[in-house]
């Protein structure tokens, strides 16, 4: 068990690339922290620096208050799970899990006991004498976890440990990883590029972009109060819709129509007088089919008529993909990066918006529909800096 502190940690690779820039994270003892961000944002680099597999260029890394920048990986007492699992192909499952203990010169009886215990927890007892090559993906993943837990390290580091599993198994393993971490109470730093994993697993989530920390907070906090366009677009699935807009005289004008500023936003925004450009963000789940709303709740929001391009019914609810008239594209590096990361620019569906409606919706593809949206949930961003106009830390 340990407390890990990254204090303005930076990494510059020998080729000059600045992969991680002044990242500061305080990880409490027993906490489950997720590092999330698009590929290439420096997640693995950060993790490897904590592990000791990469040198720290500047800044300080402290484990339990002690500076460990110069310590070799084996002296940090940290275990790591790799995306590729990195199982030793020439060893059986038992030998794989026993390897860290054998290196630590633990006596045979203890090794056996600990390996059997770990195998029990991970449901691997039946496979102890098989070679990794003969195991399924999920089993290999569990062996990798087993190798990490046998020696009760101070902390676990996991680099996209579930990325090589198929979707269904990934969801199952997500639950078991979470359970295991709660059970062991070991400080865990977990890297993923999948925002769903980040939201479901972590006590706190660190969003990285281009080596810079964008925001640190609980999943709910990031969802409710994204610090900037990037976090807003990255967290949540399907991702937030963004419209160009203006605010003036206590109301917001956007392709969704003109609606009064909700109280939550009034104070923050009124500072600059007169008219100003903003980017208006609203999540798909904050839309609803207006015909399904009672009058009282209708009052609380805005109404807009849009044309539905595609309707995807999920059973429990339906995703309406729509376009709005007179909506020009938003110029933003952050949104462009998000679009590129999710592959949206490749599929050419860059301009669409999404609304999540009740399954009872009467929406039909190709037909117009009146949508209600919750003005309380609007997010306003500065178009030049991308920052949320309301900063809640």
């Amino acid at each position: 068990m340990a407390e890990i502190v990254l204090d303005k940690v930076s990494k510059r690779y020998p080729d000059g690339a600045l992969a991680v820039s002044e990242v500061s994270i305080d990880i409490a003892d027993g906490e489950f922290i997720i590092l999330v961000g698009p590929s290439g944002c420096g997640k693995s680099t950060t993790l490897n620096m904590v592990a000791g597999l990469e040198d720290i260029s500047s800044g300080e890394l402290r484990i339990d208050g002690e500076r460990v920048n110069e310590k070799a990986p084996k002296d940090r007492d940290i275990a790591m799970v790799f995306q590729s699992y990195a199982l030793y192909p020439h060893m059986s499952v038992r030998e794989n899990m026993a390897f860290p203990l054998r290196l630590a010169k633990v006596d045979d009886a203890t090794v056996n006991r600990k390996v059997n215990e770990a195998a029990e927890i991970l449901d691997l007892t039946a496979h102890l004498d098989r070679k990794p090559a003969n195991l399924s993906g999920g089993q290999r993943q569990r062996v990798a976890m087993g190798r990490a837990i046998v020696r009760n390290p101070k902390a676990f580091l996991m680099d996209e440990p579930l990325s090589n599993l198929d979707a269904k198994l990934r969801v199952q393993m997500r639950t078991s990883v979470s359970k295991l971490q709660k059970q062991l109470g070991t400080t865990t730093l977990y890297v993923t590029h999948d925002q769903t994993e980040a939201m479901t697993l972590g006590d706190r989530v660190v969003v990285l972009r281009g080596g810079h920390v964008q925001q640190i907070g609980s999943p709910q906090h990031l969802y409710d109060n994204p610090a900037n366009l990037f976090v807003a677009g990255f967290i949540g699935s399907p991702s937030m819709n963004f419209f160009p807009g203006q605010i003036a005289e206590g109301s917001v004008r956007s392709p969704l129509g003109t609606v009064p500023l909700p109280d939550r936003l009034k104070d923050a925004v009124q500072a600059g007088s007169g008219q100003r450009d903003v980017i208006v963000g609203i999540r798909p789940e904050h839309f609803e089919d207006a015909s399904l709303m009672d009058d009282a709740s209708r009052e609380r929001g805005g109404l807009v008529t849009v044309k539905v391009d595609v309707l995807e019914s999920m059973g429990s609810d339906a995703y309406a993909h729509f376009t709005v008239e007179q909506s020009e594209a938003i110029e933003s590096a952050e949104l462009a990066e998000l679009a590129a990361d999710s592959g949206r620019t490749d599929t050419g569906s860059d301009t669409g918006f999404t609304a999540r409606l009740s399954a009872a919706t009467t929406a039909r593809a190709g037909e117009p529909i009146e949508l209600w949206f919750d003005t309380d949930k609007l997010q306003l961003f500065d178009p030049s800096s991308g920052k949320n106009l309301v900063s809640v830390e």
Binding site: L53, P73, K74, I78, F99, L103, R147
Partner: protein, 328 residues
């Protein structure tokens, strides 16, 4: 003399090296017949495969199978070109003569010693070189090219440069009273040195291919598990690249066992430094005794086959190109 040198060596090497492709073809054949139920399309495909292979198979039979069979035939005869009228079928008499001769066993011992010592040294040096080349951050291409130079030099030329280094008269490593190439042990050491210098790069190249098989993550994982550099090397790297090491050892052992050029140039086989290839050459080409010469080359062939068998069956070396290669 010097221009003639390499030719017999090559023929000697040629007559033994043929064992490998011939064996490969046989193995492929057996596998193909293994499955019985075949669709029409599969059968047509197979027929086409055979047709496409046929020219190569015919050439191989002509240039390898035939000489092997002919040597076998010669080895059962008394056949000395100096007494051509005396030719006669003598059964295994030649084998008895060779196997009961001290010359053969001395040469066999010398060959074995050179093989074991030089391959062992090459393995260690080659591994060091491979690691350096694999880890080199800057100038990897240059390091690779430079280290391969010895392998690119014709063996006889290299052997002569070693000869001029150690010769009593011209040698720049030797004084006037110092003639290492006239004493058995020093000569053998110099022969091993020349072999090692020449073929270590080849070993390094084969081992480097094996190093590429070891994923970086595995070494990182070992580091996280608490292994120091030596433990990472012995407990992870070596076992994972074992197939590549065995292949490299097999190649080099077979090669080293047929050593000829270096000995031919450095000592001409004097002072008990002859290898089996050397005495075969002496009997066959110099002595014109086709019967005894052929017997010896058949014995070399058998030795090489045994080495290959031991490597493949006992150590589980995957033959290059077979489908178990590189599988983990």
């Amino acid at each position: 003399m010097t221009t003639q040198g390499p030719n017999p060596a090559e023929t000697a090497a040629g007559s033994t090296a043929v064992a490998e492709p011939a064996e490969d073809a046989k193995r492929g054949n057996g596998k193909k017949n293994g499955k019985s139920a075949l669709s029409e399309g599969k059968r047509a495909e197979r027929r086409l495969a055979w047709l496409l292979c046929a020219p190569a198979v015919i050439v191989m039979v002509a240039v390898t199978a035939w000489p092997i069979i002919y040597s076998l035939w010669l080895s059962l005869q008394r056949y000395d070109l100096r007494f051509p009228d005396d030719t006669e079928f003598v059964g295994l008499d030649n084998y008895v003569a060779v196997l009961s001769s001290g010359y053969w066993w001395t040469a066999f011992g010398v060959t074995l010693a050179i093989t074991v010592v030089s391959v062992a040294i090459e393995l260690v040096l080659g591994m060091v070189l491979a690691l350096v080349m694999h880890r080199a951050l800057v100038g990897r291409g240059l390091v690779r090219t430079v280290s391969l130079i010895p392998y690119g030099i014709v063996t006889v030329v290299a052997a002569f440069s070693w000869y001029f280094a150690w010769d009593q008269v011209y040698g720049y490593f030797t004084g006037p009273d110092d003639a290492p190439l006239t004493q058995t042990i020093p000569s053998l050491l110099i022969i091993v040195l020349a072999e090692v210098w020449k073929t270590t790069p080849f070993m390094a190249l084969l081992l480097m291919a094996g190093l590429a098989l070891v994923p970086d993550d595995l070494l990182k994982a070992a580091a996280m598990d608490g292994a120091n550099a030596w433990q990472r090397f012995t407990k992870v790297m070596l076992p994972v690249m074992k197939p590549a090491i065995l292949v490299a050892l097999l190649f080099r052992t077979l090669d080293a066992f047929r050593i000829f050029d270096n000995i031919f140039v450095l000592t001409k086989g004097q002072n008990d430094t002859s290898s089996v290839s050397m005495i075969t050459y002496n009997n066959l080409i110099k002595g014109l005794n086709l019967g005894i010469g052929a017997t010896m080359s058949v014995l070399i062939f058998i030795s090489v086959a045994i080495i290959a068998f031991v490597f493949i069956k006992l150590f589980g070396t995957a033959a290059p190109g077979s489908d178990t290669e590189g599988r983990r």
